[in-house]
Amino acid sequence: MPERDAREPVTGRTPVLAGAGEKGRNAMARPAAGGRRSAAPRRIDAARARFIAGFLAAPVLLYAVYVIAPYAQAFSIALTDWRGVSASPRFVGLENFRRLAGDSVFWTAVGHNALLLVLLPLLTIAIALSFAFLLNAGGANGGGVAGSRFYRVVFFFPQVLAVAIVAVLFQQVFRPDGSGMLNAPLIALGLEPVGFLSDPGVAFWSILGVLVWQAVGFYVVLFSAGMASIPREMYEAARIDGAGPGRLFFRITLPLLWDTVQVGWIYLGIAALDVFAVVWVMTPERGGPDHSTTVMAAEIYRNAFQYFRFGYASAMGVVLFFFTVAFAAAALRLSRRERVEY
């Protein structure tokens, strides 16, 4: 909070995401900030600034050298035909991007990412919200359902496992023969086994299932924390007014949880654009069968570290970067909504 106070007199704005509460907040913040300014001479402000800058310099420098600079270099590598071993890559201008436009596998991957971008957050949030609601307010007495503490721990398990382990685990679950967890009962019943990972029409949905399975636990915990901060009286009041669980959820929980849902949405969207390990480890032909599960990150990896086309892979990386930025900007804009103060 101290930094915010120091900045306010200059901007005159209070950082609040939505418009509804802004006026009230400003009215509250101004007198406090004004009071501080009259008491503190400019010299001390400068000393404070130096103090803060001193703390910030090291991390900002590290960030610039190890995060921003490589990012920037990816842009310049994308304009070369660098194959990874040469000391002097050739500049080819926008050739890589022109080639990318006609690369059908890459666009298949983009399509899969787009589908994940819609479905992964939607399914994960829907499932996590309903679980979290059951754990916190779904019980008969207004609390969680019976055994909710136990479930809370169990739901979090997938989050603790490394992605590669999850992928290997599900490889066994999806095995197409009698040793597969899902196919063994089918075979025992005399049915044809399902090629969860080997049928191009099914493989993508298997991947989506794994991704949702892995993500849900974390969002159950996140939403539970959000729900815990909603005052009990609101539920009680609504219940006295005759609201059932469905109404409670849509009229009380969801509106008051909107900020958390929005954050979850953005996290999951970025995760959907970044999917890699599950696809790479789990699927045949790494993104197959027949490119039916491939994603942008897998194509970048394949082109960089298997075909040694670093220039081309960097061009893909640049495209992915713009997709991610565009998504973040669009998500922030679309999910903007009046905030409920309580």
Partner: protein
């Protein structure tokens, strides 16, 4: 709920600012892009040559040996080749490095101009030979070929190894990659399972399909499988059958990216033949199993035959039951008018080693190769790792396992009738596309004609791509 200390507006403003600063930051450091400077190779350090030191390696200059610690491990280098080398050159220190990630470990060193002398460029994370050749990183090994062999000064190294090894190690007319291990492909089976059921090794395609039918009817096990997750294993077989039907030019045209190479008649015949096997005789669930899984099923006698290379026996040594009796037979003849006779096998040298042209002491690394190519170095390698080498006759007189014996016999019977293809190493994107299409062919989702169209389309794409370096054979 004061969780948002930064407004959207501020966020965007700082993002814009970062955008302005990015180009400036790029000039600050150079950690991802390669160090500048054109290709400059230092002259090779040379000492006086003598009978014991025909390559003239400096007597006391150390060098580094990097071994891929994969299927073969790295013990063979430490226990066989390095002692052999230091036995003759006691003054030369060898720095031994073993890694599972060749490219991750070495690529920065190549880009930075400080490569190790001797590299076993192998495994999943190996460096692309096309890229290395394009960049002049591979030492010309011509001198090694013309040097006297380790065992007999009267015989040149060139005459002690399989000619295919020299052909395959040649990039752009320069011999620069040592292909050391020699792999033979075929259809593998259990001698015990075949003996118990009275099944005979098929010599013609009709006998082969009849055998599949017999096995299927017997209900003992499934007739055929392959590593479904890695369709290379089955496209290898299809291409070899195509070469047997139409001659080695079928594969040469494919490697040379010739127009219409994938639509040649023999190739379609071979694809149709295996698509039929895929439709009728495949182990249930093959498409979703990888090589280890299918090979383990094989070891459990639940499937009779699978195509693989001669590393199979070594790879499965921990899960093979006693008395299994690994054996292999070459692809059956497709018809009486096959261009190549019965017994033709896909055989090619593999497991690549090269000397870095811009390293500090490349001559010592070439001398190390000469030691590897000695009778002792190669023979003990075969014995320890159940793998043949390109050194002629090095495995003779050594104790070999049954599977390796079968492979060695098949290779001997084939004589000069061997086939191979190189596009997998030259054009990896083509390999990936052929693998993907072949998986679909075997699953019945692609007709042989559509399969050929897809492979051809990718081959055309690569031929017309000026950024890809082309090779011919």
């Amino acid at each position: 709920m004061a969780r948002n200390p930064v407004t959207r507006r501020e966020l965007l403003r700082s993002a814009a600012l970062a955008g302005l600063l990015l180009p400036a930051a790029g000039a600050l450091s150079a950690c991802a892009t390669p160090a500048g400077g054109g290709p400059s190779s230092a002259p090779m350090a040379t000492g006086p040559t003598s009978a014991a030191n025909p390559l003239g390696i400096p007597a006391d200059k150390p060098f580094e040996v990097v071994i891929f610690d994969g299927g073969y491990g790295d013990a063979y280098a430490r226990q066989i080749h390095e002692p052999l080398f230091t036995g003759r050159h006691p003054g030369v220190q060898i720095k031994h490095t073993a890694t599972k990630e060749i490219a991750k470990t070495l690529q920065p060193r190549f880009a930075g101009g400080d490569p190790p002398e001797f590299v076993n460029n192998s495994g999943d994370n190996s460096m692309d030979f096309g890229a290395l050749a394009q960049d002049g990183q591979l030492q010309d090994l011509g001198e090694l070929l013309d040097a006297p062999s380790w065992d007999d000064p009267a015989v040149k190294v060139r005459d002690t190894i399989l000619p295919a090894a020299i052909e395959l190690g040649t990039y752009d007319g320069t011999y620069c990659v040592l292909e050391y291990a020699s792999t033979v492909w075929g259809i593998w089976y259990s001698q015990k399972l075949f003996d118990d059921n009275g099944w005979q090794v098929p010599k013609t395609w009709d006998e082969f399909t009849a055998l599949c039918e017999t096995i299927k009817k017997s209900g003992r096990c499934a007739p055929f499988t392959y590593a479904g997750k890695h369709p290379f294993y089955i496209y290898e077989t299809i291409l070899t059958l195509a070469a047997k039907i139409g001659g080695v030019d079928v594969l040469k045209n494919i490697d040379n990216l010739a127009e219409g190479a994938w639509k040649a008649g023999p190739l379609t015949q071979a694809a149709e033949a295996f698509a039929e096997i895929g439709a009728k005789y495949l182990l249930q669930g093959t498409q979703g199993l990888d090589h280890i899984q299918t090979q383990t099923v094989h070891n459990k006698y639940q499937v009779a035959m699978l195509p693989c290379g001669s590393w199979l026996e070594n790879e499965q040594k921990d899960s093979t039951p006693d008395g299994f009796g690994y054996a292999m037979f070459p692809l059956p003849s497709f018809s009486g008018s096959d261009a190549l006779p019965y017994g033709t096998v896909h055989s090619r040298p593999g497991e690549e080693y090269f000397v870095a042209a811009r390293s500090a002491n490349p001559r010592a690394a070439m001398e190390y190769m000469r030691a590897m190519l000695s009778k002792e170095g190669a023979g003990r390698f075969s014995e320890t790792l159940s793998t043949l080498t390109v050194v002629k006759g090095a495995a003779e007189g050594r104790t070999l396992t049954p599977g390796l014996r079968a492979a060695a016999t098949a290779l001997k019977n084939a004589g000069t009738n061997t086939t191979y293809f190189r596009f997998r190493q030259w054009y990896q994107p083509l390999h990936d596309e052929v693998a993907a299409a072949t998986g679909q062919l075997m699953a019945g989702r692609l007709k042989p004609g559509e399969w050929a169209d897809r492979c051809q389309k990718k081959a055309d794409e690569i031929r017309n791509d000026s950024s890809v370096k082309k090779f011919t054979r």
